[in-house]
């Protein structure tokens, strides 16, 4: 989006620059053309001036030669020589000025030829020995009165030059209008392009501002979410830490409870045995080990009958020597102070009173606690 907008702005400026360059080139070309045209006009006026000078000098020389022929006054002769000299200069300049225009040049040369011929007559008059001779020369050149031909040729040349000047004026007017139109059109197009660029830049700026606002809003939303998420995570972490500590505390409390339970059971002097429903020993207190003289591992997970026998039955002699105990446990009732025999560490039977308490878990008998109190 950004690159495209910049490319478009650049294209607009390139177009504006191209139009400005074209207008500048057209203007420079026109200035050059005007310069050349001005030189040409000056040149044309110079040609006209020289042609008119030719006629003026020729008329003057003719008049002064005629006056000299009549009055023989040397001042006329001097003046005539001066006019002839001017005539020569005007003819030479006219020939030189038209040397690059073949058609005009040929006409000027013709004019020069005619004018020189006329000037030669005037020179002859000035060289005449006296008035009669001068009059004779004048008469001998009857065509002297034909300066009208020379004038006509000179006027035709002047007329051609003036026609060229007028044509040039018209062309110059058209060219001036064209250049003016080009300049104004270029300026108008450039203004339009500048307006377009301004609108493009304004639209781009609006888009940028909108994008920046959208980005700021998105960032703000993101920051809020991050803050909320961080707070949630921190809270969750705190809860987790608290739960963890609480669990450790609960485990510790449980250990305490077990420790004290064990202390309580172990501190009882009577023999305490925990039995399963199948009458196997699952736990004993130290008093059992002290009396029986066997290690706990030798008693635990073994039948209770290995330790105790109903008084009257030798230990281990009967297939079900603890039948009354099994039945009581199966039926879920207590037995109190049943006489039994327990084999001590020397293998001697020791009389004791057995009490059996069923252990219930949710109203279901899962085992029993046997307490043996020695009665010797």
């Amino acid at each position: 989006m950004r690159d495209r907008a910049i490319r478009r702005v650049l294209l607009f400026f390139v177009a504006i620059g191209a139009i400005l360059a074209a207008v500048a080139l057209a203007s420079l070309w026109n200035i050059d053309r005007e310069g050349e045209s001005s030189d040409w006009v000056n040149h044309t006026h110079a040609v006209i001036l020289e042609l008119k000078g030719v006629m003026g000098a020729l008329d003057a020389a003719d008049g002064e030669a005629a006056s000299y022929a009549v009055a023989a006054d040397p001042r006329f002769r001097a003046a005539c020589r001066g006019s002839l000299s001017d005539l020569g200069e005007h003819l030479a300049l006219a020939a030189a000025l038209t040397r690059n225009e073949p058609s005009q040049h040929s006409q000027v040369l013709r004019l020069q030829s005619l004018a020189e011929a006329r000037a030669d007559v005037d020179r002859d008059i000035l060289r005449a020995a006296d008035r009669d001779a001068a009059a004779a020369i004048i008469r001998a050149n009857a065509e002297r009165g034909s300066t009208a031909g020379i004038r006509s040729l000179a006027d035709a040349l002047v007329g051609q030059e003036i026609a060229l000047l007028e044509a040039r004026d018209r062309a110059s007017f058209v060219q001036e209008r064209r250049v003016r139109l080009t300049v104004w059109a270029g300026a108008a197009i450039d203004m339009a392009l500048l307006l377009g660029v301004a609108r493009l830049i304004a639209a781009y700026a609006r888009t940028r501002r909108a994008a920046a606002r959208a980005l700021e809003e998105a960032n703000a939303v993101l920051e809020t979410r991050v803050r909320e998420r961080t707070a949630d995570l921190a809270a969750a972490n705190r809860r987790l830490t608290e739960d963890n500590i609480e669990r450790k505390w609960a485990n510790l409390a449980l250990q305490h409870q077990l420790h004290y339970n064990e202390l309580i059971v172990n501190s009882i002097a009577d023999l305490v045995l925990v039995v399963t429903k199948a009458m196997n020993v699952s736990r004993i207190n130290p008093a059992v080990v002290r009396l029986v003289g066997r290690e706990a591992e030798e008693i635990i997970n073994k039948p209770l009958s290995g330790v105790v026998a109903i008084d009257g039955d030798p230990v281990g002699a009967n297939a079900d020597p603890l039948g009354p105990l099994s039945r009581a446990l199966a039926e879920g009732h207590e037995l109190r102070d049943t006489p039994v025999l327990v084999g001590d560490r020397g293998g001697r039977p020791v009389r004791a009173l057995l009490s059996l308490y069923p252990v219930r878990d949710q109203d279901k008998v899962v085992g029993g606690v046997v307490i043996l109190r020695v009665v010797q």
Partner: protein, 122 residues
């Protein structure tokens, strides 16, 4: 400024868990194992609350409370009791030398609630 609490218990595990928990809650916790350390600690900084075990290794928790309360009458005391409950605890509670007692099997949230009741939130 965090509120200072002194924990007295001869079991390191009890001390560390209680200290960690109450620190997490924003209290400044000092913990000691013996009565002599407790006496030193209260001289260094008077706590806003004392939490002590009833059964200490070389002393009775109630005797220690009586000694500490001689100088720190306004400081409330929470007594932590184990499985074996001592009837003197209730007597001391009535004589106001102990602010409350809690079993060590009570959940920590219960301990915190008692702490907040006595000295306010952290």
């Amino acid at each position: 400024m965090k509120k200072p609490i002194l924990i007295i218990d001869d079991e390191e595990s009890i001390r560390s868990i209680l200290a960690e928990y109450l620190s997490e809650q924003g209290y400044r916790v000092a913990s000691v194992a013996t009565p002599s350390e407790a006496r030193k600690a209260v001289k260094t900084e008077v706590p806003l609350l004392i939490i002590t075990d009833l059964q200490l290794e070389d002393s009775d928790g109630l005797d220690l409370v009586a000694q500490l309360k001689a100088d720190l009458k306004a400081v409330p005391v929470i007594l932590l009791t184990g499985v074996l409950f001592d009837a003197r605890v209730a007597e001391n509670l009535e004589s106001r030398s102990i602010s409350s007692y809690l079993s060590k099997t009570a959940p920590l949230s219960r301990v915190l609630a008692e702490v907040r009741r006595l000295i306010g939130p952290a």
